[in-house]
Amino acid sequence: MHEMSIAINIVSIARKEAEKESAPSISMIELEVGKLAGVMVDSLQFCYEAACKGTLAEGSELQIIELEGQAKCMQCGNVFTIDSFMAICPKCDTYEIEIIQGKELRLKAISINEEGSSHV
């Protein structure tokens, strides 16, 4: 269940950013997750809610943007979409590829409420 430690990291990064802005609360966290990142999105959503409890992000929403996997063939340079690590270059049939996208786990942005606002 590393999703729990990841959720805790997410909330902790977001909290630091919100504190810099003296925001009373966080309403949304935007996260990019590559399809090959090794993270289960459902499980992450579930743990996220728990990780938010008692923090500035309590009750906030986790918006997950899933990123396609992309690979570059090391033989012919072809760039193509992949959905698993066991991908093959469609041009030259080789497994010698380099994954160039799909392992991301990036906190993109947070939405904060500002002082004086009410969030019912």
Binding site: M1, H2, M4, S5, I6, I8, N9, I10, I13, A14, E17, A18, E21, A23, S27, L31, L36, A37, G38, V39, F46, C47, E49, A50, A51, K53, E61, S84, F85, M86, I88, Y95, E96, I97, I99, L105, R106, L107, K108, A109, I110, S111, I112, N113, E114, G116, S117, S118, H119, V120
Partner: protein, 267 residues
Amino acid sequence: MCDTCGCGSNSTTFTKHGEKEHHHGDGHHHDHDHDHGHNHDHSHEHDHSTHTHGRTIEVEQDVLGENNLLAQRNRGYFEAKNIFALNLVSSPGSGKTTLLEKTLVELQDVPSAVIEGDQQTMNDADRVAATGVPVLQINTGNGCHLDANMIHTAYGELELKNDSVLFIENVGNLVCPALFDLGENKRVVIISVTEGEDKPAKYPTMFDAADICIINKIDLLPYVEFDVARCKEHALKVNHQLEFFELSATTGEGMDTWLSWLRDNLK
């Protein structure tokens, strides 16, 4: 709460073999003690009755950035002291500790140290300690992997020697440890022939993140249906740069190549 000392902490503990005391890592815990029983069907519509000023802030940070940074710090430390650090990962029971025991006995002329990671017990540390090598046990409690910060705390206690080798046995788990760089020089994934030969296809993240793949328990090959060539094929499809060793930690078959690879890397 910590079962051992009742200190109110549920974080990771670090215990040197032969010492009664354990202590807790600093605030870096992965406890899962949240309530899974409640209803998740809440709506995300918020009633903004009075005026609300929301604002979006760009963050653009790697979620594992802190761990990666700490791993880089560990790596720098290992490099400065010329320590060759290995991170051993596998499913529970593939033979990590047995391989370590055998390796350490053969490598007695090389200064070594071991960090053991398990959720509970000192058993693996006790087995390693019998070889005379300094060992520190990390008990992660509910945590399913070691992280760079734990390793940093652990080697601080072990007082590693220059020009030595550090073996880290990760928590037996083929999923979670894949994501956490510890600052090791090489990551070694172990699979035993009593597991399915398609493990690399089923757990690709781990095989993708490894440098070395050890196929262990080859003494059992006559009794199980495990095609070594097919297993390698699966693994190479995931990661074409993997290097393989086939061995039996129990009988010692194939250990020579592994040991000479280790020695070559210690120069």
